[in-house]
Every structure is written in C-alpha cells, then in structure tokens.
C-alpha cells in the first residue's frame, strides 16, 4: 500500500512541477491531468486497503475522471479562444486580467 501511495505522491509532485514551470497552456493542462491521476491512485488504494466496505473510492475516482474530461473540454476551448485572440497560448502573454 505504501508503494502505491509513494507512487502517487511522486506523480503528484511531477505534475506540480509541470504546472508551475510550463509556459504553454496545453502543457499546464497535461500536468493537471497527471495530478488528477495521482489523486485517483490514492483513492483506489485507500479503497482497497483501508476502507474496504463499499466502493466509494472507486466511484469517486470515476467522478474525478468525468469532471477532468469536462474540465479538459472547456479548458481547451478557452485555449483555442486565447490562441485566436492573442496568436499564442503562452501564459505570460495573456495578462489582461492582471492588475
């Protein structure tokens, strides 16, 4: 069990590093997917080893997958919109909401 948790922790850290360092918006989205996957591994691991009655962990992981799909859809639509307006999808170019 600890091995799975350690794997999820390292995967989450790699995703965190990607989110913090990427300049490309699509790269940030991909790193976010890595972090979602790490969280899902944790859910399924706890469902198998700690809270074994019921399948709440797996169902929660499934909902996370669905919500990640919705998030990716809307996020990529926003990426297309940003690309159309700014001719590029780097995050430091889109600073119109900064004050």
């Amino acid at each position: 069990m600890y091995y799975y948790l350690a794997l999820a922790a390292v995967l989450f850290s790699i995703g965190l590093f990607g989110v913090l360092t990427r300049r490309n918006t699509i790269g940030i989205l991909m790193s976010l997917e890595l972090m979602f996957n790490a969280a899902n591994i944790n859910f399924v691991t706890f469902n198998k080893y700690v809270v074994t009655d019921g399948l709440a962990g797996q169902i929660f992981a499934m909902f996370i997958i669905v919500v990640a799909a919705a998030e990716a859809t809307v996020g990529l639509a926003i990426v297309l919109l940003v690309y159309r307006n700014w001719q590029g999808i780097d995050t430091d170019r889109v600073s119109i909401m900064k004050w």
């Binding site: 989450f12 490309n24 990640a68 690309y83 430091d92």
Partner: protein
C-alpha cells in the same frame, strides 16, 4: 515495511509511469509531451488493474486516452505554429518550482512512511467488482450520477459557445 511487497509488474509500471510523467513536464516539443502523457496514462491504467479496479482501468483507457488525449492533440495541432520549434517551454522560475516540488514530494513521502494509524483491512479478492460498482452507482450514488450528466451537458454547451467563431 510489514506488508507484503509488490510484484515486479508494479515496479515496471510505476517506473515507466514516473519516467514518462517526467518527460511530460520536461520535454520541449509539446507534441512529444502529449504522446508521453498517453504512455503515462496507460501505466496508471495498469496500476488500477493491480488494485482490483478493472472497470476504472477500462474507463481510464476509454476516457483519458481515447478522449482527453485526442482532445489535447487536437488542440496542439490547432494552436501550434509553435509545436515543432525548439522554443523554450518553461518560465523563469523553474528552479524555484523544482525546489517546491522536491520539498512537497519529500514531505508527502515522509508523511506516508510515518503514518501507521490506518486500519489495515485484509484486502479480499474483489469479485464482481464491476457489478457492485454499477449497483452502487444506481442506488447509493444516484444523485451525483445524475448531477454529473448535467455537468457534462453544461461543459459541452460551454465549449461550443466558447470555441464558436463570432459572427461579425
């Protein structure tokens, strides 16, 4: 560690997953990053199978690899006049973020390694996993199941509205 160790399949899967995840965040060509992301998601699906979650592994392959990855590749191809060029993909605080991620990983690993308060139930071999998953989706988790369908519809409409070309 007192528990039974994991087999070689786990080591191979986790090694490939971590390696490809590192490639996802470090490669310069964003298209290669997407391909390595697909590899990483495959390995995570294998981890799900090791954890007796077959339906979740199938859903991972179908939704993540068949849906989200294709969507990401589509977006890369639609937006990138930059995809093949060797431009810098990281911003200026890469070192600081590397340090932050390292500290986070160390803290989490330390926490995981030192926590022994979890009640260790004996993992019984989960038979009829998909069956009970579907049954609990239809009984206990009926309301979130329906709400998430509304969420998907909203995301669909929102994406269409956002990505539509404005008529001038």
């Amino acid at each position: 560690m007192p528990e039974p160790s994991v087999g070689p399949v786990f080591w191979i899967l986790s090694f490939v997953a971590l390696l490809s995840a590192f490639m996802v965040v470090s490669l310069r060509n964003i298209f290669h990053c997407a391909l390595f992301l697909i590899l990483c998601l495959f390995c995570v699906a294998g981890i799900y199978i090791l954890l007796d979650a077959e339906f979740l592994a199938a859903a991972q392959v179908l939704i993540y690899i068949g849906g989200i990855s294709v969507l990401i590749i589509f977006a890369i191809m639609l937006t990138s006049s930059l995809a093949s060029k060797k431009i810098t993909q990281t911003n200026e605080n890469a070192l600081v973020s590397f340090f932050i991620a390292l500290v986070f990983a160390f803290t989490t690993l330390l926490l995981v390694g030192n926590t022994h308060v979890w009640r260790h139930a004996a993992p019984e071999s989960a038979s009829q996993n998909t069956l009970s998953l579907g049954q609990s989706l239809m009984t206990e988790f009926m309301l979130p199941f329906e709400v998430v369908s509304v969420l998907l519809l909203a995301a669909l409409i929102g994406a269409i509205v956002l990505a539509r070309k404005e008529r001038s």
